[in-house]
């Protein structure tokens, strides 16, 4: 039989068929590539939107301000603090001595304030600020790039942790069944009945939330998403002949769960992942929108939306925030649908 390779990995015929099914769904396939491109590009946000040059050449030596904080005195300035390369004084110091600066395409970081606005902030789109500035004079493009990155990173981390916990909980419930399952299910019913957003808001007002705090708080509730499917898969698979056989051979429960049953549940888990990622991002955005999310000053899409709501006279805030969010969520939904269809056993390969 033929074994295909993708990225050097040997694929089982089943996986290969799924990959072909996934590719056959053009919308999902392209969504995956667009999303991956956007994600990888924004991972290097510091090289795309930054208030420091990527590379500076001054008096025959190279400087990399992106990585290293150089004092202004290095370039013959007066202050011992880090050089502000946007300051015409510093710029002139370097350029006049025959040096040069290589700037990223957007000369603003997410927190850089443009003090030279011709109009009061929020300023409309211009050649300097492509999508205008927000009400504190910060560049919208830069905030979108960083905001996209933090949303996706947050979503991915939350998805990872909640899948691990959810799969483990579902596995234990489904495999052992009986009283354990019964009690656990009732607990989950009560736990998932809690008004999550309100609890998050209350908890977020008790502690000053940062990235990890917020992740932990949301993890308290998001792990339940996968429990149902994984539990169902384990309930089904624990009665498969080869699982019974393994038990008869004396294989321990932990090993049976990990080696024989879990692979069955992985399909269900994988199909759910993009949707869980979507949910995580939406929850983070809504918390940010309400002002209970990431600490003030962080680049976040929710905060941009809130600004758009507060400044209806500056539609570029709300519209650009909305467009990025809509694009990201749609791409994820398209990918999720394609993955789901690719794993559908009733869909034979063409």
């Amino acid at each position: 039989m033929s074994r295909e390779r993708i990225l050097g990995l040997r694929l089982t015929p089943m996986t290969h068929r799924r990959w072909r099914n996934f590719r056959a769904n053009r919308r999902g396939f392209w969504s995956l590539w667009i999303f991956l491109t956007l994600f990888i590009v924004t991972l290097f946000a510091e090289f795309i939107a930054n208030d420091k040059p990527i590379l500076a050449h001054y008096q025959n030596s190279f400087y990399m301000p992106v990585f290293v904080a150089y004092a202004e005195t290095e370039f013959g300035g007066e202050f011992e603090t880090e050089a502000d390369y946007r300051d015409p004084f510093v710029r002139d110091l370097i350029v006049d001595s025959g040096g040069w600066l290589l700037w990223p395409p957007v000369r603003y970081s997410y927190g850089t304030i443009n003090y030279n606005l011709p109009v009061p902030a929020p300023a409309p789109p211009s050649a300097e600020n492509w999508l205008g500035t927000d009400d504190q004079g910060r560049d919208v493009v830069a905030r979108l790039i960083y905001g996209f990155r933090i949303s996706v990173l947050f979503g991915l981390t939350l998805t990872l942790f909640s899948s691990v916990i959810g799969v483990a909980a579902g596995a234990v419930q489904g495999y052992f069944g009986g009283w354990l399952d019964l009690l656990f299910q009732r607990f989950i019913e009560i736990w998932s009945g809690l008004p999550i957003l309100f609890l998050l808001i209350i908890l977020a007002s008790v502690v000053e939330p940062n990235f990890w705090w917020l992740l932990g708080l949301m993890l308290l509730f998001s792990w339940m998403g996968l429990v149902g499917v994984v539990r169902a898969e384990f309930l089904r698979a624990r009665n498969l002949d080869y699982v019974k056989a393994a038990r008869a051979l004396g294989v321990s429960n932990g090993k049976i769960m990990a080696k024989h049953v879990l692979p069955n549940a992985m399909v269900a888990t994988l199909t759910f992942l993009p949707f869980i990622l979507n949910g995580s991002i939406t929850t983070l955005t809504s918390l940010d929108f309400l002002g209970f999310g990431l600490p003030p000053g962080s680049p976040s899409l929710g905060e941009l939306l809130a600004q758009g709501k507060a400044n209806l006279q500056a539609p570029w805030l709300g519209i650009s925030g909305f467009m990025v969010l809509a694009l990201m969520l749609s791409l994820l939904i398209f990918i999720g649908e394609a993955v789901r269809d690719a794993f559908d056993p009733r869909k034979a390969a063409e």
Partner: protein, 319 residues
């Protein structure tokens, strides 16, 4: 008895249903098994053969009764102690393909019980043991890197047998090991099992609904009906001179190789259905279909009693 390997006493497995009723899967079954003996268990579908096997393997909680394995009550062992004992009794299943994890290669499948039950073996030792057992069940070592679905049913059953025997058990429980196979392949697997029984000093508990298979494989035969032993005795005595009406009917209903000679030798064919195990008949469970049923059969439960040398029967009016 010193050579007694396994003793089962008053084994009872009930599956409770809603409303206080329960399915009587195995009801008051007692028997013994000697070292290197093979016991055949026959009966219709649903008579409790598989439940009995699962109970002996300690895969099924007992409602009451005891299972004594080489002097130890295995039904009360702790999980860890039980796992140590697992090396001594292994099982093969009816559907050879379904009992092998489709995601594992043959090498991994056969090595699995070794890794689980003898975790301090070195990798090379495991590999050499796997290689030798694969050879003994008549497979080529090139099979080791392949997956179960690449094999035929008979080959899969060989893999199952290799997997069960790799830990060198004393007892092998075979739950209908050949009923999913073609007749031509059945013979190969049966002969392989007999061969291995000789060379590995195995005891067998051999479950089948096929009398000719049981005749081929067993030293003693147990006939089950609705979870109860109807007759238990040495193979030749029991099959050639059955004393219980049910055994007679069972033998009679088996297709004979020579119809002219074998027909109308014994009792007429059975009529009707097996009664529901939820509500088994009072007294003798077979009385609803028994041609000899009398008033007494509805009142008293017949005990399994010796009726001749090496033959026991549970009937008030044995033939």
């Amino acid at each position: 008895m010193s050579d007694q390997l396994l003793a089962v006493r008053h084994l009872r497995v009930l599956f409770p249903l809603k409303g206080g009723q329960s399915v009587h899967a195995v009801d008051d079954v007692s028997f013994g098994l000697r070292d290197r003996e093979s016991l055949g268990i026959v009966g219709e579908s649903g008579c409790g053969k598989s439940t009995l096997a699962r109970a002996v393997m300690n895969l099924q909680a007992l409602t009451s009764g005891q299972i004594i394995w080489r002097g130890v009550f295995i039904d009360t062992l702790k999980r860890r102690e039980l796992r140590d004992r697992r090396r001594e009794f292994q099982m093969i299943f009816q559907d050879p393909l379904a009992s092998l994890d489709p995601r594992m290669t043959v090498a991994k499948l056969v090595a699995e019980p070794l890794r689980a039950l003898r975790p301090n073996l070195r990798t090379e030792e495991v590999r050499s043991m796997v290689n030798s057992i694969i050879d003994r069940v008549g497979l080529d070592v090139s099979a080791l890197d392949r997956y179960p679905h690449e094999f035929s049913g008979g080959q899969c059953q060989r893999i199952s047998i290799a997997r069960a025997l790799v830990v060198e058990p004393k007892l092998l429980v075979c739950d209908e090991p050949v009923s999913a196979l073609d007749v031509s392949v059945q013979a190969q697997i049966l002969n392989l099992l007999k061969e291995l029984q000789e060379s590995c000093d195995l005891s067998l508990i051999f479950i089948s609904h096929d009398l000719s298979v049981v005749r081929h494989m067993s030293d003693r035969v147990m006939v089950l009906y609705l979870g109860k032993i109807m007759e238990l005795g040495d193979r030749d005595r029991l099959l050639n001179n059955p004393r219980h009406p049910y055994t007679r009917a069972l033998i009679n209903s088996a297709p004979a190789p020579d119809p002219n000679k074998e027909r109308d030798r014994l009792a007429p064919l059975l009529e009707g259905e097996v009664p529901s195990p939820i509500n088994p008949p009072s007294g003798c469970v077979f009385r609803t279909r028994c041609p000899k049923a009398a008033e007494r059969c509805a009142k008293d439960v017949p005990d399994l009693r010796p009726i001749g040398p090496g033959q026991n029967v549970a009937c008030h009016f044995p033939e």
